[in-house]
Amino acid sequence: MSETVPIVHVVDDDMSFLTAVSRLLKAKGFSVKTYSSAHDFLAQREADAPGCVLTDLWMPQMNGLDLQSALAQTPHPLPILFLTGHGDIPSRDRAMRDGAEDFLEKRDPKEKLFDAVTRALARDSRDRAARAGRQ
């Protein structure tokens, strides 16, 4: 298992928010990559690299939930965190049921965001270790 730095993959079709949130995560010391659509992320992701996904829930073409199911079918799924403009209980329930790490609102306190990202990365690390143990 290589010792590469884990990366936070941020996916949002709103360029403005994408830039802002990646700045904040970088300032906190995370390594960040940004994508303006779920397709872009799926096409560019490096398989089996450590990290987590932070995605907007509502996007044209492929939305956050679609991305979650697409990712779940790959051999190396990443933990996923959702961001949404405002609360949407049914979507939240579905996302959590399908194994999302967390479901955040875009204007939640930054500590909550940092905690969630840290947890997601830790979980990824555990998952990878478990997968390595199975092999």
Partner: protein
């Protein structure tokens, strides 16, 4: 009394009678110049006939000379008036030929008084008795005057002139006149000219009887003129009969027009007069005896409508040929009425307006009803907008959270950067610029919400169709995603801007898309799709369609759905489509629904590319 005296004096008196009748015709109708000229021709023929009679009974050569001299005055008048008559009556004959005839004859008349004893003789040596028509008459013997040629040349010119005029009239198809006036003039002047030539050059010994052939001419032409007058009189009588019929028709029309409340007015440009029916006068507040002038009618119009109406009339008289207008009038009592009026212009051959005929009608009631409907619609539109705001609120909350979230994250990032020992000031500058940009975005969303809420009249301007659709789609995107509806947009390229009020048009699109999503609520999740398309519809309109993949609209409801308070939704007010149609019609477009072959329902509306004048 001798036979010669009887023939000549009767001819003269017949000529004088014809002359008198034609003079009378001219006195009655001063434009009948042909009759006056013919009267002169007949008078001079009579005078010349009397001169001939006198010469046949002259006692001395001196007496013969004097009478012949006077006779030439009569001949001058005869030739000149005949030329004028032929020219006027046949409307033919070359003017230069006419002037040549008159010129030569005038020269001959002058020579008649200046050279020799008269135009025909340098000297009359003696008179001689000869037998003529069984009687003894005098003829002159002497030295022929060579200047006589000028007079005979003038007769030759007359012949040519009359022949030319006859041929022209004949070719024009005026056969009857050409024969009775032109042909006869040619024939009789030829006969009398020949006789004069033979007698005066001493080739034939007989008295001058030229007047007799002219009398023949006067008789034929007089008959022609007389029958013409008879025809005119008959025509006049017929006209009187048909005029009575016309009056009857006019009465019936007036009755019909008054029964339906129309007023008729006629403006005569030639005589600068205005005529109007009694109920037109009543409508405009004029009494039956008031003198009507265009100026004082215009004064009755509402000051705000006056110039517009004047312009409409100008357009009509400058070639459009007809007009249609609605305007207000202010009666002397201060009462304001709405009048609808339309009319047609009559032009003369040169295209100048000579007459306008128009009808006017009191449309005050209709206008009031229209205004009330308009107010009601505005109320309904306002209520509709307010209820729609409920649906909008969640969409707008999402819209506004987007920039606010970005602002928050940027501010937090900047704070963290500032805690560093050596903060990256460039990065912080970029963050501040982004914060400013997102603040602007949030402000725009709020402005849009305010625009949707405000009650306002249409504020039309060029609108980019792509932008219009894009903005509405952005508003509903999150809602659509939450309801698993796929939104597709296809705008043809190039697409000219339409003319309309963007806020109202957004409202229509929003309504149609939200309706579409409602229709998809019970459809299979996978197939939920709404497409918004825009394409050119002919050269002057754009057609925008919102189609969904739902079950479509029952065929018998395709028109009902636009009725107010028609709804299939438990919570719906049933005003959305009604308001949408009102808005599209206020833009001079159409909104309708159909079930396309590929399934689902489609709402289509058209918008004009160019602005159309709203009717006043």
């Amino acid at each position: 009394m001798s036979l010669i005296t009887i023939i000549w004096s009767m001819s003269a008196s017949a000529c004088l009678t014809v002359a008198g009748i034609n003079l009378l015709v001219w006195c009655r109708d001063r434009r009948a110049w042909a009759n006056l000229l013919f009267s002169l021709t007949a008078t001079s023929t009579a005078a010349f006939a009397l001169c001939e009679l006198w010469m046949m009974h002259a006692g001395t050569p001196a007496e013969f000379t004097t009478v012949l001299k006077l006779g030439h005055v009569a001949v001058w008048l005869l030739v000149v008036s005949l030329v004028g008559f032929v020219r006027l009556y046949l409307k033919a004959g070359r003017p230069w030929l006419a002037w040549m005839v008159c010129g030569l004859r005038t020269l001959a008349l002058i020579l008649n008084f200046l050279v020799g004893q008269n135009l025909n003789y340098l000297e009359i040596t003696r008179l001689r008795h000869i037998k003529f028509l069984g009687e003894s008459v005098q003829i002159a013997e002497g030295v022929p005057n060579p200047w006589m040629l000028v007079g005979q040349l003038s007769l030759l010119a007359l012949l040519i002139f009359a022949t030319d005029a006859t041929v022209t009239a004949w070719r024009r198809g005026d056969l009857h006149r050409a024969l009775t006036v032109g042909g006869i003039a040619v024939f009789f002047s030829l006969v009398s000219a020949c006789q004069a030539v033979l007698v005066f050059w001493g080739i034939v010994r007989m008295p001058i009887v030229a007047s007799l052939s002219f009398v023949g001419m006067v008789a034929v032409m007089g008959y022609e003129l007389g029958s013409e007058m008879l025809r005119a009189a008959q025509l006049d009588r017929k006209l009187q009969v048909s005029e009575a019929g016309l009056h009857e028709i006019e009465e019936r029309m007036r009755l019909a027009v008054e029964a339906v409340g129309f007023g008729i007015w006629i403006r005569d440009f030639v005589h600068d007069e205005v005529w109007a029916t009694d109920n037109w006068r009543a409508l405009f507040g004029f009494s039956k005896t008031d003198r009507l002038e265009f100026g004082n009618i215009l004064q009755r119009l509402h000051p705000e409508d006056r110039d517009a109406f004047r312009l409409v009339l100008e357009k009509a008289t400058e070639g459009a040929g007809s007009y249609e207008a609605e305007y207000r009038i202010v009666l002397p009592s201060g009462e304001v009425r709405w009048v609808g009026s339309r009319g047609r212009v009559v032009f003369d051959a040169s295209g100048r307006a000579i007459l306008i005929r128009g009808i006017s009608q009191d449309i005050t009631e209709r206008k009031r009803a229209e205004e009330e409907t308009q107010n009601l619609r505005r109320e309904i539109a306002h209520v509709g907008r307010v209820t729609m705001m409920g649906q909008l609120a969640s969409a707008l909350a999402h819209e506004i959270n987007q920039p606010l979230g970005a602002i928050l994250r940027n501010a937090e990032a900047a704070e963290l950067f500032l805690h560093n020992a050596s903060p990256d000031l460039d990065e912080i500058g970029a963050i501040l610029a982004d914060i400013r940009k997102d603040d602007q975005r949030a402000g725009d969303v709020i402005d849009r919400m305010r625009g949707l809420l405000k009650r306002q009249n249409l504020d039309k301007r060029p609108v980019q169709v792509g932008e219009l659709i894009g903005e509405v789609v952005a508003l509903v995107r999150s809602d659509a995603a939450a309801r698993h509806v796929k939104l597709e947009v296809a705008v043809a390229d190039p697409m000219p801007p339409v003319f309309g009020d963007p806020v109202h048009l957004q409202q229509v699109l929003l309504n149609l898309i939200v309706n579409g999503m409602d229709a998809l609520d019970d459809a299979q999740r996978e197939g939920r799709r709404i497409s918004v398309t825009a394409a050119l519809e002919g050269p002057q309109a754009v057609e925008i369609a919102v189609s969904d993949s739902g079950r479509g609209i029952p065929a018998d409801k395709l028109t009902d759905i636009f009725d107010p308070f028609f709804t299939t939704k438990p919570k719906g007010l049933g005003m959305g489509l009604c308001i949408s149609r009102t808005i599209i019609e206020a833009h001079h477009g159409r909104l309708w629904a159909e079930n396309p072959k590929e399934g689902g329902a489609a709402f289509r509306f058209t918008l004009p590319i160019e602005e159309k004048d709203a009717s006043p």
